[in-house]
């Protein structure tokens, strides 16, 4: 249930944004799931539903999950690559799930084997849009 902590951050950020932007009725927020972190959607959505009670301003908000593929660019050889095909054990995938930066420990550029790569897209959880009425 590590997803709970991230779901709490999403709902809290959404409510805080609404307050700052003087949004009186939240309608929808886009929640990006980066492929690398492999968030469990079912657990995350369950946590969001439970957390609505603590954040009444989010009761009317629909959270739309958007999956974003992970994209990497090697800083050593400039090779661009995807997550699919990179070898990792079940444990290593779990560690990356908790802290996505562990990708630099367990994953390598498929071309030059360097761990010095940039994660261009698809890291973890973020909010891409928030809609509501003022």
């Amino acid at each position: 249930m590590h997803e709970w902590a991230l779901a709490e951050s999403v709902i809290k950020s959404t409510v805080e944004y609404a307050g700052a932007e003087k949004i009186t009725k939240l309608k929808e927020a886009g929640v990006v799931f980066g492929e690398l972190q492999a968030i469990d959607k079912e657990i995350f959505v369950f946590a969001l539903e439970e957390l609505r009670r603590q954040f009444p301003a989010a009761l009317t908000c629909k959270f739309k999950i958007i999956k974003e593929p992970a994209a990497f660019r090697c800083k050593a050889c400039s090779h661009k690559f995807a997550l699919k095909g990179l070898k990792k054990t079940k444990d290593e995938a779990e560690f990356i799930h908790f802290v996505p930066e562990m990708a630099h420990t367990f994953l390598k550029c498929p071309k030059c084997k360097s761990p010095d790569f940039e994660l261009v897209a698809g890291r973890g959880v973020s909010i891409s849009y928030i809609k509501g009425a003022k």
Partner: protein, 233 residues
């Protein structure tokens, strides 16, 4: 729009932590980690609810100093740090299998924010942060997110360490970060003027690493216990 939601809950995660002590020192190899671990053990022994967070991702070593083996955080609405000798302990090594963590600055920052956002410390009297050497992403993030952090600076009698220390203290003053005090480690002879406490060079310290009970019996820990009194912790 691209909102990073994680910072919004960091204050919440730290709200039941009464005091945060950031053990710093801008030179490597001056004993920050041994000081941070020993301080956490001493505070826990005094009956305080204590946490220890190893923020030196590149050179994480608190697990070696404390002899932490077979531990992993518990998943409970985040991650609950495992308890070791009465200290709630969090480190990147739980996720790295003790392998190298080759991170650039922005990645370090991301990893720190992630762990601060998901770690459920609960109620603590003290959270001891073992800071990496230098003024870098970890140090700047701690100042950004752990606003109540107080600095405990470690130095050695070396002219180099002292000079770097003075620069760090000047910056902390500028940034209005409270400095709890300076401890001079590996001390021989008389203490420097700026040091609130001296931790004498202890040839027996190396042999005690990996065993909290042995560590607590060292001269180093006895000196640190005296420093804890001087610093009114």
């Amino acid at each position: 729009m691209n909102i990073d939601p994680r910072p919004s809950v960091i204050e919440e995660r730290l709200k039941n932590v009464k005091r945060i002590i950031a053990v710093t020192g801008w030179k490597g190899g001056i004993g920050k980690s041994v000081t941070a671990c020993s301080l956490a053990l001493l505070l826990a022994k005094k009956g305080f609810k204590t946490g220890l967070f190893d923020l030196d991702f590149a050179g994480a070593s608190d697990h070696l100093i404390l002899g932490a083996k077979g531990l992993f955080p518990k998943e409970e609405k985040g991650l609950e740090p495992p308890l070791l000798e009465g200290v709630k302990f969090m480190s990147v090594v739980f996720f790295s299998e003790n392998k190298a963590v080759p991170l650039r600055g922005a990645n370090v920052s991301d990893a720190i924010i992630e762990l601060l956002a998901i770690t459920q410390w609960g109620e603590l009297d003290f959270l001891v942060l073992d800071m990496p050497p230098g003024i870098n992403d970890a140090a700047l993030d701690v100042m950004r997110f752990a606003k109540k952090a107080e600095v405990l600076a470690v130095t050695t009698p070396s002219l180099i360490a002292r000079d770097v220390l003075e620069r760090s203290l000047a910056l902390y003053r500028t940034l209005k970060v409270p400095v709890l005090g300076v401890v001079e480690n590996m001390a021989r002879g008389t203490a420097s003027k700026s040091a609130a406490a001296r931790l004498r060079f202890d040839a027996g310290l190396e042999a005690a690493l990996g065993s909290p009970s042995a560590l607590l019996k060292t001269r180093f820990c006895r000196d640190l216990a005296a420093a804890v009194k001087t610093l009114e912790l």
